[in-house]
């Protein structure tokens, strides 16, 4: 995405490491302050917090969540990958009652860092298994650092499972979503879960299980249809795998995917990266377009309107007679408020509503009134006009005309100075902020 603003040169997004981009996002939020609403920034704050939590808890481990609906065969698949029955496989639904975690490698579930990770994910202590000790398995060095979590069914009638599922899915480094030929097009699956993962393609793989139950020729058709639905969910580049826990078909590919993610030891970073991109893309879409600076025309309209609010014509007459004003300058509050509104409203229109209101509140018309009034009351025009020598060479009418012109100019200048200090300068500072926020967001993308 290109952002139309003249910002500082930032490193190209692909090369900036994750912590730098998270810092850029934090900077953008700090710069914008209350210009974004809490609702607008909630996803960004969530990803920053998640990154802080996750990267502080063994980022070299790979947390893989196995999710799916009732009867899709998650547990069988889990067992097939682990190599021995671990989750209870039953025909009676629903069978998986709580998340079960299996940890590979020397650092088992008792390891302080791993335990802290599992605590954060909400896996109960009684459901934590070590692949090495509890299963009496040969070492599986390829999976060293894998934490596989088998989740309860997402569509069960026992709805109390759902919050726990959401917590693991939100925080896992890779989600393996297991579907079967019968229920891959469920509304619950797509509307409640998958479409919410939009943008996390890199951290999601969908496994079509139970391929042994359908004919080989239809498998390809199903795969294409599943890809189409994922595309509609905004997950067009998520990995799609076919497997059969019953016959072992497709398991090598699934295993390879896992080995690949585990051995790279950066699944946590990749997943946070995917989420960060998605969050930042949303923010950049909602930030609006570059607000235009105040034009000369708008500035001179403002000065003219403020001069009218101060009854400028009459002031000129008084100044011509008295040299400086003795009585008070009574400026119309309402006309000032109208003049400020007329200037400010269109300027902030390209911005999102919350930011727009922030900009419109920036200038207090009363302070503008006070500033214009006090500036004019200090104005001294006794020396304004043609000088003595030139006066002598001009006719009386010409002298009067020139002096009137000079006084009018002096009044306008005074109002312009007040307007510059109380309206135009704060507006310019505010408008200059937008490109810096936008640039910080670009740097976090």
């Amino acid at each position: 995405m290109t952002v139309p603003h003249p910002g500082p040169a930032w490193p190209t997004p692909q090369t900036a490491p994750l912590p730098d981009r998270l810092a850029a996002l934090q900077r953008a939020l700090a710069l914008a302050g209350e210009r974004f609403s809490d609702v607008e920034t909630a996803p960004a704050r969530a990803v920053i917090e998640r990154a802080r939590q996750r990267l502080g808890r063994s980022p070299l481990h790979t947390v893989v969540a196995l999710a799916g609906g009732t009867g899709s065969g998650k547990s069988s698949l889990f067992n097939a990958v682990v190599g021995t029955p671990l989750s209870p496989v039953g025909v009676r639904r629903p069978s998986t009652e709580e998340p079960i975690a299996c940890v590979w490698g020397a650092a088992g579930p008792e390891d302080a860092v791993v335990a802290s990770l599992l605590d954060w994910l909400g896996v109960p202590v009684r459901s934590r298994l070590s692949h090495r000790t509890s299963l009496d398995q040969r070492d599986d060095p390829e999976f060293d650092g894998l934490i596989l979590i088998d989740l309860p069914d997402h569509d069960t009638v026992r709805a109390e499972h759902l919050p726990g599922i959401g917590r693991v899915i939100d925080n896992a480094d890779l989600v393996l979503w297991v579907v079967d030929p019968q229920k891959y097009a469920d509304a619950a699956l797509h509307e409640r879960y998958l479409s919410r993962l939009a943008g996390r393609d890199a951290a999601l793989a969908v496994v079509m299980n139970q391929l042994d139950r359908i004919e080989a020729t239809t498998a390809a058709t199903l795969g294409a249809d599943l890809r189409r639905l994922l595309q509609e969910d905004g997950l067009g580049s998520a990995a799609v795998l076919a497997a059969s826990a019953a016959t072992g078909g497709g398991l090598p590919a699934l295993r390879n995917l896992l080995v690949d993610r585990v051995s790279q030891r950066q699944a946590a970073v990749l997943r946070l990266d995917a989420e960060l991109r998605s969050v930042v893309a949303d923010l950049r879409l909602s930030i609006g377009t570059t607000p235009q600076p105040v034009s000369n025309r708008e500035a001179s309209d403002l000065v003219a309107n403020l001069t009218y609010a101060a009854a400028g014509e009459e002031l000129v007459e008084r100044l011509l007679v008295e040299g400086r004003l003795h009585g008070p300058v009574v400026v119309s509050d309402n006309h000032v408020e109208r003049a400020v509104n007329d200037l400010v409203e269109p300027i902030f229109e390209p911005l999102p509503l919350h930011w727009r209101r922030f900009g419109e509140r920036l200038i207090d018309p009363r302070s503008v009134t006070a500033s214009v009034a006090s500036a004019l009351s200090t104005l001294d025009v006794s020396k304004v006009g043609p000088s003595g020598l030139r006066r002598a060479m001009m006719g009386r009418e010409k002298v009067e005309a020139l002096r009137r012109e000079a006084v009018q100019h002096a009044v306008t200048q005074m109002v312009a100075t007040a307007a510059g200090q109380t309206v135009l300068a704060p507006l310019a500072a505010e408008l200059a902020l937008w490109p810096t926020v936008s640039a910080a967001l670009a740097a976090s993308a």
């Binding site: 709805a159 509304a187 797509h190 058709t221 014509e313 009459e314 008070p328 400026v331 119309s332």
Partner: protein, 524 residues
């Protein structure tokens, strides 16, 4: 005519149903609230029940028993229908969803009922397999006994919302709900919601447990029966179909024979048929007031949201009114240009003109008052600008408060917030006649000239202001001005209420509740 329909007099019943239908259809559910989806669903279901079942059966009694085969994706509904009639009448397939335009299968003797008779759920009956949305394909075959019609509904949990709605509509029209569940997903949440709906409506329910692996048959059947009893659906017969390889796309005859026997019994015995129709009809009818009240509850919630937003609106414009009154009394208007014109006018002897006889017409046109025209223009301008400022302050405060309210964000999106340059009531027109009635001096006193900071020391102004004969007229003039400007503010406020969609809710909940009560009185 079935028993239940003859139990109540049709006249009042039809009237009560028509009234309920009207208020349900008009029930406002436009705010983007979390349960707006639920409300729309309840409303559509109610309308479907009324149109496709209750009113349809009342208007044209008789006809076959309508069996709607429903269930979650991939339950094997089409295969079951095909197997029941021993012919491939309904599209089956691995790619979901498979059933976009439903198929109705009936005996040739009954097809006229559907081809020319009453429409099914607003669907256009067709003979050919066009699979066009909005149609129902009518297939007649002698393998279906006369007196029973079978419809293959789309998946109740399909990813396509149109399919889900159609399934809901078809179930609303059904005399028998034939619900298909599979062995590996019989506990899914969405199909169970539909089963509970069937229970709440007292509909005749038949459950088919499909794709049961032979080794699990006993355990799964027992657990499902237990769940049905626990849910109050223990009466529903459960038929089990085992997971077998298909023969020409059809199930083994052994698996469907008991279900076909059940349908056959229903078809041949008019007493059973009438009893089934009457039970579902009466269940639908009795459930209507309760379902309407459920809709009323959602409407009430939306009405509550609209009321909060409406209160904010009233509050914002009440503040504008308050500022108008205080502003007129405090002299803030007599500043800037208006102050200057007033001073010019007074300087030119304008206060003396007060005692001269009052003439008809606009004061600024009086030939005898030098500077009166300029003063009148400045007064109009000052009042119009003030009114505009007050309206914009009200709009700004609403833009601050509405986003913090439930359902407010959508309303904020719906409203055009650009500053009002042309006020709804036409402030300038409103003012012109007013200023003419009072003359320049009293008009200026009415907008607070005596309180203006620049004039408090002016003895001549004070003398006029404190003169009892004028003070009364000034007070009358100010009241009149406030009334006229209030009309402008109210017009702005009401236009905004309409724009924000807050006006549709008045009395909506009550209307639905009254219609529900009226129907219940007829039924009791």
């Amino acid at each position: 005519m079935t028993e239940s329909t003859s139990a109540v007099t049709p006249g009042p019943l039809l009237a009560a149903l028509a009234e309920l239908r009207a208020v349900v259809k008009a029930a406002p559910l436009r705010l983007g609230l979390p349960d707006a989806v639920l409300g729309v669903h309840v409303r559509e279901e109610l309308l479907a029940t009324l149109d496709d079942h209750v009113l349809a059966r009342l208007n044209k009694p008789g006809g076959p028993v309508l069996v709607v085969v429903a269930g979650p994706t991939g339950a094997g509904k089409s295969t079951l229908v095909n197997s029941l009639v021993r012919a491939s009448v309904s599209r089956t397939g691995v790619v979901r969803p498979t059933t976009r335009a439903p198929v109705l299968v009936c005996n040739p003797a009954d097809e006229g009922w559907y081809l020319e008779g009453r429409p099914l759920s607003g669907l256009r009956p067709v003979r050919d397999d066009g699979a066009e949305p909005g149609t129902v394909q009518i297939v007649s075959t002698a393998t279906v006994p006369a007196g029973v019609a079978i419809v293959d509904a789309p998946d109740v949990d399909s990813v396509a919302a149109d399919d889900r709605e159609l399934a809901t509509r078809l179930l609303a029209a059904a005399d028998v709900w034939l619900f298909v569940l599979t062995a590996n997903r019989y506990a899914d949440a969405v199909p169970w919601q539909h089963l509970l709906t069937a229970r709440d409506r007292g509909a005749v329910l038949v459950v088919v447990l499909d794709r049961v692996p032979p080794y699990a048959s006993a355990e799964v059947h027992a657990h499902l029966s237990e769940m049905l009893v626990y849910a109050g659906l223990g009466q529903a017969p459960v038929f089990t179909v085992s997971e077998t390889t298909l023969n020409d796309g059809l199930l083994d005859e052994f698996d469907v024979v008991t279900l076909r026997d059940w349908l056959q019994r229903v078809a041949v015995d008019p007493a059973i048929r009438d009893a089934i129709i009457a039970r579902t009809f009466s269940g639908s009818l009795q459930a209507l007031p309760g379902r309407a009240r459920a809709l009323a509850a959602v409407v009430a919630e939306h009405q509550g949201v609209a009321r909060v937003l409406g209160d904010d609106l009233v509050q914002a414009f009440a503040q504008a009114h308050h500022e108008l009154v205080t502003g007129l009394a405090s002299g803030t208007l007599v500043t800037g240009e208006l102050l200057r014109r007033w001073q010019d006018y007074v300087h030119a002897g304008g206060l003396d003109a007060l005692t001269a006889p009052v003439r008809k017409g606009l004061f600024r046109r009086r030939p005898n008052s030098p500077g009166a025209a300029d003063l009148g223009d400045a007064l109009e301008d000052a009042l119009a600008v003030y009114t505009g400022v007050l309206v914009n302050r009200a709009l700004a405060s609403l833009r601050d408060v509405w986003p913090t309210r439930a359902g407010g964000a959508d309303v904020v999106e719906a409203v055009d917030w650009t500053p009002r340059t042309n006020l709804a009531g036409g402030a300038v027109e409103v003012l012109r006649g007013w200023a003419g009635s009072g003359g320049p001096v009293l008009s200026l006193l009415a907008v607070g000239a005596a309180a203006s900071s620049a004039l408090v020391g002016d003895d001549s102004v004070r003398a006029v202001a404190e003169d009892g004969t004028f003070a009364r007229r000034v007070e009358v003039l100010r009241t009149e001005l406030v009334n006229r400007l209030d009309a402008v503010l109210v017009a702005e406020r009401d236009a905004l209420a309409v724009e924000a969609g807050l006006t549709a809710f008045a009395g909506a909940e009550l209307a639905v509740l009254r219609a529900a009560d009226a129907l219940e009185r007829v039924l009791s």
